[in-house]
Symmetry: C2
Subunit: 516 residues, 2 copies
């Protein structure tokens, strides 16, 4: 599956009133200094921080710096020279990595469909030493690898120091105190919040290494987690206004919005992402009771649901193939998405109904609720396989189909559990690839009353990423295929990714004894 | 021959009084805008400047920009994008070349003894398009090759424009009007002045591509050429003060001085370069009658001659092997340098005598003049081969030996011509590699009364560089080995080099009918 939409001549339709409000909601950033790496290795050998400043480096030498934790921000080097005079520029390469495995891959060997320009590497010449080299770009990293491409026969390079400044708009002081039954859950919770904080920038980014952009599928999960932690309320509102303020000319919401310049909807439409706008707004209002947001955003959000109802239902009341083809659901090449999308649509209809109630429009609310009920019945009639005891999508059985149907409230808990078990036990059914999908799976387990299994899965799956040595959660992780990548190469994978931040939400809301 | 001197713990001895005067003599720079390349090629195909701004560029595409002449200065690019939104950074490489042949060599394949950091190349990521990319470093180039390392599947790169700003402290308005007998001589003259102007910066640099530094061997030839052209009198004085102001602790002048920071003599001593200080000062005073310079510089300059007399003469009055080993003369691996250096020493003694006369010290002047005469007699007695009709250096016959002996006035013109012819006709004698050496060869021909041969050689040798398409003169050029390099790879050769700028001097002084 390649997610590359190109609509020739596409121009988003911008609503300046909404975008001005989004601009006013832009947060300030907190800057955190990291004055030095916590550990150095030179050519693979550990060297103490005290020895590092005087270690002469020659052509080919490599210095691995470990800052001890994932950081999003700017990087600076203090360089000097030893030996005779500097008779030629120093020439260095810097590679930045979120996890150390990234250094095992050769950037030149990446030929996948994402741009290799995301690989975090720089080459530079330093004409005059000593020099303070402050890199202007922002990086996402824990490790920095400096390679000496050349000095000269007359002199050697010295790395006197390295520092960085973390950037995030997440307010650490807003975090509630929590106690945990054990260390594993605590560590998962903390990595979850670190992941969220690193993605909490001038918008809620999907990943600070790559894309660095506002995507609806990520936004919903970030917002849910933020409500129980940093409570970046204004930023979440800003993001909703950005989606509503720059849309397709026909009113559809884009899957993502570019915000580095004048905000601009991407020409990528994902059916499920557009539908998540309604639940995301409902969840926002449950936290804030923000009447202005309801007034401004109701119509744009309901439009997303109406559009699908109008354009993407077949005569028999299931979603059309073309709508499923433009749905995300998960990074699975061989996934049939129709049934899962049907489940997402029901959830969007329920959210739409709830928004209409809040807006004082009970008749419209009833319309959406009736529609949701009708789609549930259609699902049981046309998509459910009595023989297999679970939902089909086309001929395909997948966990994905069960998960979104369970979250749509189509089945009572007991039946839901059985359907999930059937799908999971079927050999060859599509695997869940992303923490995004695993989040919905855990939510489905909880909805099916399987709290123990939910907690076990959370510990195994998210805990598995931490057991590799990472301190943030990833964009993509299939424990049975740890080297897999949706992008044709792990080197462009994002190892701190918004949609994987939800364990803190799940733990706080469902697993701790005193839920918030 | 590798020119890499490293003296552990070396610290130059600086004279702050002289260095302050040097600082006050620092020139301003003239900035010349070059608003656009004169020609573009995309993937080898010529494209009109009018079409270029709208030509979408994808991964792997290459744009060759030709600015139509050699430029030393800063480079800027105006970049934009076509297609769908820019969903990833643009990633480009820029290579700068003085001659287009440089692009035929792979920087990664250079493994010579000079630093590969001199290869003019940059890689960069542009996060947001459109962008004006202004490179902070200075380059020496006529051609710029932009390689698109990556965009993304969604967008293409556009090169809306490229421009540069030339930098030089040479005053073009000071140039005298000259008329030439033919176009060839005019073109050689102009390329010679362009070469000098490009090297005329905050100091007289050896080459703006590489080293970018003040070397005595270059300074003398630049100064001679500048007197008949830009007349950068204050800058020449500044350079002499820099050599005198930062020296070896024992008083010797370094072969070159670093001036990017607090001036600092390099720890490289070249016997002939130190000796050239006296002729260089004498020539400066012949142009300026600058009493302050004579007062300040006489002692430091005479010290260089005295040092050689004291340390580097054998009991029989010829120069020691160790002095010859630390002499430059030319980039020839197999050259025996003793006899050539003996000739340089005589010239330095004559210059020292002349400086003492000017300073009102006739007895010291006589000392140097007598010493010069004594060395001439020693040369004829011990270094001249009656049998071969020319000078030997050890057992070796070389043009180099004859040239510096002729310029030392050891032989009358007729005998000089014969000696040169003998050396040139001997198969297997060391070849002349550099325009530096060819300059002294032409001067020797003139001293031997061979004006026609001098002019013919100037047209053939320097004209040969122009016939390759270059518009500046090079650091190194042996027509019989056009791919040769003293540095183990042509890609680090300098193609605009100070010591090759002398044709304008020779033409103006010796070849034009109304010499200046």
């Amino acid at each position: 599956m390649q997610l590359i939409s190109i609509i020739p001549g596409f121009k988003p339709k911008n609503d300046s009133r909404l975008l001005e409000k989004a601009e006013l909601l832009k947060p300030g950033l907190y800057y955190t200094p990291y004055p030095a790496p916590t550990a150095f290795r030179v050519n693979g050998q550990e060297i103490s921080p005290a020895e590092m400043p005087d270690r002469p480096l020659r052509r080919g030498d490599q210095v691995l710096m470990d800052f001890g934790r994932h950081i999003v921000g700017r990087f600076s080097l203090s360089l000097d020279q030893a030996g005779s005079a500097q008779d030629a520029p120093a020439y260095i390469r810097l590679n930045f990595a979120e996890i150390s495995d990234e250094f095992g891959e050769d950037p030149k060997q990446y030929h996948g469909w994402l741009s290799s320009s995301w690989i975090q590497q720089e080459e530079m010449h330093i004409d005059i030493l000593p020099a303070q080299v402050c890199l202007p770009r922002r990086y996402a990293f824990r490790y920095v690898l400096l390679t000496v491409l050349d000095t000269s026969l007359k002199y050697q390079l010295l790395v006197r120091g390295a520092s960085c400044t973390g950037e995030s708009s997440a307010d650490e002081t807003a975090l509630p105190a929590r106690t945990f039954p054990d260390d594993e859950l605590k560590r998962i919770y903390e990595a979850s919040l670190r992941t969220l904080a690193e993605c909490t920038q001038l918008v809620l980014e999907d990943g600070p290494k790559r894309d660095r952009r506002l995507w609806m599928g990520d936004l919903r999960l970030q917002a849910l987690t933020s409500y129980v932690s940093f409570r970046s309320i204004a930023l979440i509102k800003r993001c909703l206004y950005l989606f509503a303020g720059s849309r397709f000319p026909d009113g559809r919401m884009s899957a993502n919005v570019f915000t580095d310049k004048e905000p601009a909807a991407d020409d990528t439409y994902l059916t499920d992402y557009a539908l998540w706008a309604a639940p995301t707004l409902r969840e926002y209002l449950a936290e804030t009771d923000d009447g202005e947001a309801l007034d401004d955003l109701l119509d744009p959000v309901l439009f997303q649901v109406d559009y699908v109802l109008e354009h993407f239902l077949t005569a028999d009341g299931t979603v059309k193939e073309e709508a499923a083809e433009s749905a995300f659901i998960d990074w699975s090449d061989n996934l049939d998405r129709r049934t899962a999308l049907h489940g997402v649509l029901i959830q969007a209809l329920e959210a739409a109904a709830s928004l209409c109630e809040r807006a004082g429009d009970p008749s419209r609310a009833r319309f959406y609720r009736d529609k949701a009920e009708e789609l549930r019945q259609t699902a049981m009639r046309l998509l459910w396989s009595e023989e297999q005891g679970c939902f089909l999508s086309g001929d395909q059985v997948s966990v994905h189909s069960q998960v979104f149907m369970i979250l749509a409230g189509v089945m009572p808990p007991e039946r839901a559990s059985e359907a999930l078990e059937r799908a999971e036990s079927l050999p060859g059914s599509p695997r869940m690839i992303t923490p995004y999908m695993h989040h919905y799976y855990v939510m489905a387990l909880l909805a099916a009353g399987q709290k123990n299994r939910a907690e076990k899965h959370l510990r195994e799956y998210w805990g598995g990423m931490l057991r590799t040595g990472s301190d943030t959660f990833w964009e993509s992780w299939d424990p049975s295929d740890p080297d897999g990548s949706p992008y044709g190469g792990r080197i462009v994978n994002s190892y701190c990714h918004a949609w994987s931040c939800t364990p803190a939400f799940i733990i706080s809301r469902y697993l701790l004894s005193s839920p918030t």
